[in-house]
C-alpha cells in the first residue's frame, strides 16, 4: 500500500480514537452525575455503543496499517457486531425490568413522572402504542393524562435507550 | 521498601483477609460462600503474580527466539483450581439449599438455636 494511504489511515485512526475517548469519559461522568436510573441508562448507552464503534474502527484502521492480518480485523468486526447487538438489548431489558419492579422515573426537579409504583409496573406490562394510538392499557391511561402525557413520552425513552 | 514490587502481594493479602472476615463475621451461609470465592480469587492472583516475568509475554510460542515468556506453570495450576473451585461452590450451594429446606433458614445462629432446641427435647 502506498505511503500516504498509511499515513492517512493513521491520522483518521487518531481522530476516531480521540472521539471514542471523549465518548467514554462523557459516559462515565454521566453515569455518576445523572439523577436516576433511566437517565443513567443514556450515559451508559453513550459508552456502550458510541465509543465502542469509534474505538473499534480506529483499531481496525491500525490493524490495516500495522499488522495486515485478516484474522485480527475479523475478530474486531465480530466484537463490534456482538456489542452492538447485546448492549442495547441488555439496556432495554434493564429499563423494562426496573419499570416493572415499580421504579418510578423522576423529572429534573426530582418530582415523580408516573404517579405510583403500581402505575409503573402496569406501564411496563402494557404493549407499546401503535402510531397515532393514545391508549396504552385500560386503567393506565387515566393516570398518564393527569401528568400531561409525559409518562407516555418517558415510556418510549426508557424502552429505546 | 519497594512499593511497586510488593503491591500485588499486599493487595492479595488484603483480599484474602476480606474473604476471611466475611467467613468469620457473617452468619448467612450464602454470604459465607461469596467470601470463600473472594478468598479463592485472591489465591489465584498470588500464583499469577509469581508467574509473571517483567517484559515477558503470554506463553504462546511465536517465531521470534528473543521473546521472553511468562512462566506457564502457575497458569496451569490455576486453571485446574478455578474449575475445582466452581465444583466445590456448586456442592456447597446445594448443601445450603438442603439446609434451608430442613431448617427454614440459612442463618448460622438460627440453625444453631434450632439444633440446641432439638437436643433439649
Amino acid at each position: 500500500m502506498p505511503e500516504f494511504v498509511l499515513i492517512l489511515f493513521t491520522v483518521v485512526a487518531w481522530v476516531l480514537m480521540l472521539i471514542g475517548c471523549v465518548f467514554v469519559i462523557a459516559g462515565g461522568v454521566g453515569l455518576i452525575r445523572l439523577p436516576d436510573l433511566y437517565t443513567r441508562l443514556h450515559a451508559a448507552g453513550v459508552t456502550d455503543t458510541g465509543s465502542t464503534i469509534f474505538m473499534l474502527l480506529a483499531m481496525l484502521l491500525m490493524t490495516v496499517v500495522e499488522y495486515q492480518n485478516p484474522w485480527i480485523a475479523g475478530k474486531l468486526l465480530l466484537i463490534l457486531f456482538f456489542t452492538l447487538f447485546t448492549t442495547p438489548t441488555a439496556s432495554h431489558a434493564l429499563a423494562k425490568t426496573a419499570l416493572l419492579s415499580g421504579l418510578v422515573p423522576v423529572d429534573e426537579n426530582g418530582k415523580p413522572i408516573i404517579e405510583s409504583p403500581e402505575m409503573a409496573s402496569k406501564l411496563a406490562l402494557s404493549r407499546a402504542p401503535e402510531h397515532g394510538e393514545v391508549a396504552i392499557a385500560p386503567g393506565v391511561n387515566d393516570g398518564l393524562q393527569k401528568s400531561d402525557g409525559r409518562g407516555n413520552e418517558n415510556n418510549d425513552k426508557s424502552e429505546g435507550s | 521498601m519497594d512499593v511497586i514490587g510488593l503491591y500485588n502481594y499486599w493487595i492479595v493479602i488484603v483480599l484474602m483477609m476480606a474473604g476471611l472476615y466475611i467467613l468469620i463475621a457473617r452468619y448467612n451461609l450464602i454470604k459465607k460462600m461469596i467470601g470463600l470465592s473472594v478468598f479463592q480469587t485472591s489465591i489465584f492472583y498470588l500464583y499469577i503474580t509469581i508467574g509473571k516475568v517483567e517484559g515477558g509475554t503470554a506463553p504462546i510460542l511465536v517465531d521470534d527466539p528473543h521473546v521472553v515468556y511468562s512462566n506457564p506453570l502457575p497458569h496451569v495450576l490455576i486453571l485446574t483450581a478455578i474449575v475445582v473451585g466452581v465444583a466445590t461452590t456448586a456442592v456447597a450451594l446445594a448443601l445450603t439449599v438442603r439446609i434451608y429446606e430442613a431448617y427454614g433458614t440459612i442463618e448460622e445462629d438460627e440453625i444453631r438455636a434450632a439444633n440446641a432446641e432439638e437436643q433439649d427435647i
Binding site: - | 519497594d2 511497586i4 514490587g5 510488593l6 503491591y7 500485588n8 502481594y9 499486599w10 493487595i11 493479602i13 488484603v14 484474602m16 483477609m17 476480606a18 472476615y21 466475611i22 468469620i24 457473617r26 452468619y27 448467612n28 450464602i30 454470604k31 461469596i34 470465592s37 473472594v38 489465584f44 492472583y45 499469577i48 503474580t49 508467574g51 516475568v53 517484559g55 515477558g56 503470554a58 506463553p59 504462546i60 510460542l61 515468556y69 511468562s70 512462566n71 506457564p72 497458569h75 496451569v76 486453571l79 485446574t80 478455578i82 474449575v83 475445582v84 466452581v86 465444583a87 456448586a90 456442592v91 450451594l93 446445594a94 445450603t96 439449599v97 438442603r98 434451608y100 433458614t105 440459612i106
Partner: protein, 204 residues
C-alpha cells in the same frame, strides 16, 4: 512506572474496593452482582499479567457460571433477606493481625516480575516446558501442552472432581421438583457445561 504497572495497580485497587463493597452490603443479590464484577476485574488483571488462559476460564467460570449458581441458590432460599452477622471487633482484630503478619512475610518475597525468582529459574520446569513443548507435544500454547500432556493425570483428576461434584449435587438436591414451576436442580446442569468451555480454552 509503565502503563502496565499503572493498569495493574488500578485494577487491583478496583478489586479491593469491590471486596469492601461485598463486605459492607447486606443485600445478598447486590453482593452476588458485585461478585460477578469482582471476577470480571480479576480476569482483566490476569490478561495484563499475561495469563490469557486463566483470564478466559475465570471470565467464563467465575463471572458467568458462579454468578448463575449463586442466583440459582438464592432463588431456592430467601433472596430478599439481609445477612445479620455482627461487625465483630474480635473477628476484625484477628483478621488485621493475620494480615499484618502476612504482609510482614511478603517483604522477603521475590519482587513482582522478577526474572531471577526461584519459580522462574528452576531448570527443569518452566524453562524446559517453554523450550521443548513445541517439539514434544505440538501446540504453540505452552499452557495447553502442560495441561493436556505433561500434567495429563492432573487434568483427569480435575475431571473426576467435577464429575463427583455433579453427582454430589444431584444426590443432595434429588431429581424431584423443588417447586411447582421448577424441574430438576439447577446446579447439576450448571456445573457440567463448563467443561466444554474449559476445553475450548485449551485450544486457544
Amino acid at each position: 512506572m509503565s502503563i502496565e504497572h499503572l493498569t495493574i495497580a488500578v485494577l487491583l485497587t478496583f478489586l479491593v474496593a469491590t471486596a469492601i463493597g461485598i463486605i459492607v452490603l447486606r443485600d445478598l443479590l447486590a453482593a452476588v452482582i458485585l461478585t460477578g464484577l469482582y471476577s470480571l476485574v480479576a480476569a482483566g488483571a490476569f490478561i495484563v499479567m499475561d495469563a490469557v488462559d486463566v483470564a478466559f476460564t475465570e471470565a467464563a467460570v467465575g463471572s458467568g457460571i458462579s454468578t448463575i449458581l449463586f442466583l440459582g441458590a438464592l432463588s431456592f432460599t430467601q433472596h430478599e433477606q439481609k445477612p445479620r452477622g455482627r461487625d465483630s471487633w474480635l473477628a476484625l482484630l484477628f483478621v488485621v493481625i493475620t494480615g499484618g503478619l502476612l504482609i510482614f512475610g511478603t517483604l522477603d518475597m521475590p519482587r513482582y516480575g522478577s526474572a531471577t525468582s526461584p519459580a522462574q529459574t528452576h531448570p527443569e520446569l518452566a524453562k524446559r516446558f517453554i523450550e521443548q513443548s513445541a517439539d514434544e507435544v505440538g501446540p504453540p500454547n505452552v499452557v495447553t501442552s502442560v495441561l493436556a500432556s505433561y500434567r495429563g493425570y492432573d487434568t483427569l483428576g480435575e475431571t473426576v472432581v467435577v464429575f463427583t461434584a455433579g453427582i454430589a449435587v444431584m444426590g443432595l438436591l434429588g431429581l424431584k421438583r423443588r417447586r411447582p414451576e421448577d424441574e430438576t436442580p439447577e446446579h447439576a446442569p450448571g456445573d457440567l457445561p463448563h467443561e466444554p468451555g474449559h476445553d475450548t480454552d485449551r485450544l486457544t
